[in-house]
Amino acid sequence: MALVVARTVSVRRTLRQSPVDEPRWVQGALIASSLGFLGLFLFAPLAAVFTEALRKGLGAYLESFREPDALSAIELTLFTAAIAVPANLAFGLAASWAIAKFNFVGKSILVTLIDLPFAVSPVISGLIFVLLFGLQGWLGPWLAEQDIKIIFAVPGIVLATIFVTFPFVARELIPLMQEQGTEEEQAALLLGAGGWQTFRRVTLPNVKWALLYGVILCNARAMGEFGAVSVVSGHIRGRTNTMPLHVEILYNEYNFAAAFSVASLLTLLALFTLALKALVEWKRREEVSHALEAAAAEEGR
């Protein structure tokens, strides 16, 4: 999960010229093959989504968002993300503090368990909640008696989403906090700051960009999850359909243009997320280069 582990390190790059020793034709060939590969696997699907969505014109495209079922799907998706992301954010902060700032036995197993949901098949992620909360499952009969609905209702969808997006914030923070060590916090404590104050004033500012990046990844995944949510949703129209599920429904109604319209909205959300991410990285780079410049100036003096 080093997905972005060393992103922090990457900022160094901007401060130096990269040596380019390959002959021009090799460079050209490499750029061409990388763009060709991305074209086949990345840009073609992206283009397909928008072409299909706009096949019946812009009017029909916009019309498909006005449908009440589509609106309720959008609303549910936003609602789910609004719960899942803060939940995993809080968890990510706690877990990274415990793991990065302290040494204890079984740490690597703990980190592996935190990563696990990343590699669990979405089908299984949904199934486990059915086994737990289903009427035939462990808690199902009791819940039914209390008239509490978990699966086939909004709580189940939220739970499955939290499961699927579980590792993202924690895994952004742990490597960075590990790298930063504990000196600054210790200094703050020595100067008489409280634990909570130290965390807020020292640790949090140090990791805020990684944190935001983790939140962005987590949010993107939360909005787009299909497999796990499909198992626990119950597919009640206008009630428990998220946007990805609504796409499938429209597709199954032979309403291809509308299906791709909603899909394109999800794609736009994804692209928006990516733009936000680029902004975050840019900010981070700028901040670090300022810091390095300041340090260099100091050295020069």
Binding site: L78, P86, L135, I151, L204, G234, H235, I236, N252
Partner: protein, 340 residues
């Protein structure tokens, strides 16, 4: 700090939306109809008609929620706690499962409504490309070498199981009951299937949108809908000489209606399917009506076919499922390594 502000904002929005949700769930009576994939359009119309009928009769406003998906998947969701007041599925086997796995319906559920509890029927037919270039007239033509047949996966699709049984029954009838011949026929048929989509509508998309296959096997109502929705100029309906009478069943889910006190409205909902109005709506959506008067009115819509039922030829769903579709059954044996 901006992060805590962000968190506040997000949780605030969350809370507000949670409140919207609780408010939104208000109506006089609400029932949930859990159905299979190709009935969306039918029930959208029917629900409106029933709501008006119920309002006129009792003054009560009824809201009918809809859920659609693969037939077995839907049944499983109901077993696992999806609160369906009524189920309207593709095959009786799935409603049997509601009794067996969760005692959600009575054992004799199928006897509680007329006509085996299936208010409308259909049959299995073919769609071919315009002009019928491969000259497909009957089941035999589907097993010819070089014909590409599209039909979904019987392991995951209820509709596909009816397709399979229709082919088996055809050959059985033609050969005077020769099981070995029927098996060979179905084996050859599935050799011609290049894609096993997980659901019936996926198979239709493969045939129509992807342009794969010479012929699509599907229910007659779906075929007629496909031809109407997606182009008379591109596709044609072909009806085989012999086919199966598909009987999609409906049932009130006893456990749920007892708990929620909605038996009366749920029962009325299903009974309304059998009335002239209900039958008319079904016929408009290309389901064959049971009621003679409506059937006569829409006779022009449905070609004459010699139909057999699952009870006659296979001894009911339980037997058919066990013999053909369960793990290790005949469908699996067709795909044993070495045979392919």
């Amino acid at each position: 700090m901006f992060i805590s502000r962000l968190t506040n904002l997000i949780s605030g929005v969350g809370l507000a939306m949670a409140m919207v949700y609780t408010v939104a769930a208000k109506a006089d009576v609400e029932i949930l109809n859990v159905s299979y994939d190709p009935t969306r359009e039918l029930y959208q119309d029917f629900n409106q008609a029933f709501a008006a009928h119920w309002k006129a009769r009792t003054g009560e406003t009824v809201t009918i929620q809809q859920s659609h998906g693969g037939s077995s998947k839907q049944a499983r969701a109901v077993i696992d706690g999806l609160e369906a007041h009524v189920v309207t599925l593709a095959l009786a086997y799935d409603i049997d499962a509601l009794y067996e796995k969760g005692k959600l319906v009575a054992k004799d559920w199928q006897k509680r409504l007329p006509h085996n509890s299936s208010p409308y029927t259909s049959t299995v037919a073919f769609v071919v490309r315009k002009g019928n270039p491969k000259k497909i007239k009957d089941w035999e033509d589907l097993v010819r070498p070089g014909i590409s047949v599209i039909s979904p996966n019987p392991k995951t699709s209820g509709v596909a199981r009816w397709n399979y049984l229709a082919a088996w029954g055809y050959e059985l009838k033609r050969t005077g009951g020769d099981e070995a011949k029927a098996r060979d026929f179905v084996t050859r048929l599935y050799k011609n299937v290049p894609v096993l989509d997980s659901g019936a509508r996926g198979a239709t998309t493969t045939f129509i949108e992807r342009g794969i296959g010479d012929v699509l096997i599907n229910w007659e109502n779906e075929v007629l809908l496909t031809v109407r929705e997606l182009g008379k100029e591109k596709f044609e309906l072909v009806v085989p000489s012999i086919s199966i009478l598909t009987e999609p069943p409906v049932a009130v889910v006893d456990k749920v209606v007892n708990k929620r006190g909605t038996r009366e409205v749920a029962q009325a909902y299903l009974e309304y399917l059998y009335t002239e109005e209900g039958q008319e709506i079904a016929a408009k959506h290309f389901y064959r009506p049971r009621l003679a008067s409506v059937a006569a009115k829409y006779a022009h819509q449905f070609p004459k076919v010699e139909l057999f039922t699952i009870d006659e030829v296979f001894g009911g769903w339980q037997k058919a499922q066990k013999k053909h579709f369960n793990d290790g059954g005949i469908f699996d044996q067709i795909y044993k390594p070495g045979i392919q």
